[in-house]
């Protein structure tokens, strides 16, 4: 009867029971768990101008070719406009503003907007407030890093920067928390 005992024990409710792998609602990717277990971090890397960035891949639901957005009148930066993605209105933002980079994108919506360069993409991210898009100059691809390769800022994540990846020389890549970026 041993296995039935064990099964019954698991059957009963306990607040600390193991619920890994069950339905997950979109959560902030700042949760340290995967990294803490020594698993690889998967990142989606992109470029803004000459700077390199990345967000956790789990936060990315889609990557779209940039297209003309629907303008929101009197919108203030960083809001660039909205997209209708299969029935859901998705706002699209300019990440440079939050990241403190100089930017002068010009309008991305409305009839006056200039033609869009080919490599530009819109990253659709999931956040607690629903989907939101990021207008990026170029997508580099998926990067896998081990947790130890991510240099975390001393004292834990600050200002939304989860860490920096410096391995292999070249430009350091800043890994950012999407929730913070899109707040």
């Amino acid at each position: 009867m041993g296995s039935l005992e064990a099964a019954l024990a698991a059957f009963r409710y306990h607040p600390e029971e193991d619920v890994s792998g069950l339905i997950e609602l979109p959560q902030s990717p700042l949760e340290p768990e995967p990294a803490a277990r020594g698993e690889e971090l998967q990142l989606l890397a992109f470029a803004l101008g000459s700077d390199e960035y990345a967000v956790p891949l789990t936060a990315v639901t889609e990557i779209l070719r940039a297209r003309r957005l629907t303008e929101i009148p009197r919108a203030r930066p960083p809001l660039l406009g909205i997209l209708n993605l299969r029935g859901t209105i998705t706002p699209v933002y300019d990440p440079c503003i939050r990241l403190g980079r100089a930017t002068d994108p010009g309008p991305r919506a409305g009839p006056d907007c200039p033609p869009v360069p080919r490599p530009v993409r819109i990253l659709v991210l999931r956040t607690l407030l629903g989907p939101a898009g990021l207008w990026v100059d170029r997508v580099r691809g998926v990067q896998r890093v081990r947790p130890e390769q991510l240099e975390r800022p001393a004292g834990g994540p600050t200002g939304g920067v989860m860490g920096v990846i410096r391995h292999g020389g070249g430009t350091p890549r800043t890994v950012v928390d999407p929730e913070w970026l899109l707040r």
């Binding site: 009148p73 809001l79 909205i82 209708n84 029935g87 209105i89 006056d112 407030l129």
Partner: protein, 660 residues
Amino acid sequence: MSPERPPAEFSSEATETAEVLGRSLLLLEAGPEDADPELLNAVFRHAHSLKGLASTFGQQRMAELAHAAEDLLDRLRLGKVRRTRAVLDLLLESVEVLRRLATDPAGPAREARALVRKLSRRDRGPERQVEDPLDRLELPPDMRRVLTEFEEHRLRETLRKGALVWQVEVQYPLETFDQELETLKARLHGAGELISTLPGPVAGSIDALAFLLLIGSAAGEEALQRAFAGSGARLRALGFRKARAEAGGLGVIEPPLEGGTAGQTLRVDIARLDGLIDAVGELRLIGEAIRSLSEARELSPRAWSAQLLREHRQLVRRLDILQESLLQARMVPLQQLFDRLQRLVRRMAREAGKDVVLEARGGEVQLDKRLVEELSDPLVHLVRNAIDHGVEPPGLREGRGKPRAGRLTLTADPLGGRVVLALADDGGGVDWARVREVAVQRGLLDPATAEAQGDRELQAILFHPGFSTAPAVSALSGRGVGLDVVKTNIAGLSGVIDVESREGEGTTFRITLPVTLATVRGLLVGVRGRVYALPLSSVLDIVALEPGKPGTTGGQTMVSVRGRAVPILRLAEVFGLSGHPGPRESVVVLGVAERRLGLVVDSLHGQRDLVTQSLGPRLGPVPGISGAAEVGQHHTVLVLDVGALLEEALRGPALLPVPA
């Protein structure tokens, strides 16, 4: 066998069902002698579920009583027992005992037994059954099933006046059927009444649609034939089934309607069918294209793949459109709910000895059929509340200088991804002092802090289970008014309800429902190359802007429209849009209540049915915009918020910046 204490969820469900049963019985009582068959069915069904529920949970006494009540109700709905005062009293008494049994199975044992005896005895006897004339009309049962209550009423009226009901089979070409139907209505004017338009048998060709029309007319066959001249219609007057006399004087009654209001059939607006047929047509074309692709030998493999991919993309797009149209087909206007409420208000007001009038606005707003059904119970509840406790008796109203008739206003406003339904009464308002008092009595409020409780806390108390300020239980409401039930229902739809009340002036309940789809008819306007949508219900007039005409009065630029001065607002200026105005600007005159605003736009782009969507939780309120809508393929336009624009015209731009 003494039943043990039943589990909590049984008690609450049983109580709820008993409540609904009680309310339906009261509606039955208040209604006309030849009762609404739908209502009779509903009552029977409730008793039946109660019986089932009681059996499932081993509540024998309750099951027995419910069974006896169910039997009597069955006989009632089949017309074997007449709906007399005595019968209803007995049933209402049974409901009371059932309610008590739901929480206290051992309590009313003796009463339950006595009632069971009385209920079973209450059937024999040569009581003449009251017949519904519609039952004898030769209407095929599946047609009868899909008729709305209003249509049934019109049919009964037709029969009552001694006119005939005609069934007409007619076909119209796909392209023009809606115009043909309009023309028909015009031709029938005077000769008859088009009561119902139903789907007919399969049409002779794929380019036509067949209909079955029900027409009430006393004019005779010739007059009707004239109206249908040239359309190839087949007319037939519907006859009557003979009532067979049986021993005991019972007539034959058609089996009652199955399914009730929530039934599985759906009436689809003809214009929608149009759209669906179009969409399927397009899919056929793509099918053709793929077939000819399979025979294309001259293409290189690469070109062939590319072509296939293109067709696939088209296919996916068309399927999206079809799916969307089907979803929209589930939308029904709130008007049918409003109509039902109108009828209820009349009955309830009479019962309560008060004079009440219901004004409704926004019935054209369409919501998913299921939502509209789910809204019925809570709204009925709120209306009953307002009539019972909100509106004062006519004498008191006069004393307060109010019109004798109380006014209930029911409104529906779609705002992007939300619909706000409001029910306002001009009664005495909520007596917050009394609310405090009762709350303290019931232990819901600590007497020490009761005074300090603000409106929001008191509101929450109003929605607390079992709370009621009515010292006497009103016959109509049954037990204390369960605003908590309303709140639970609304919460089940992921909505919220709140209440606003001014002492002596009235109370307004506001229900906000998030809806992913709501349809509104819109006017598309163009400004500096952008297209926006305006809800057509707010558009009063459209005139050309005459250059040089606008004058300034008191700081506001005005224009004269049909002799009336209307302040104007240039949308381009408000939205800070650069560019030049078009050669011919128009002024769209918008109106809400008494206020007017002329919105200056560059161009007009026609009317559309718009499926409005919320801008999403992230953007929050955007001043001047109430939501977005998709127009054509993947072209999103913003829907303007007329109320906000009116405010801006009055006060200048909104202080709220668009949140980033």
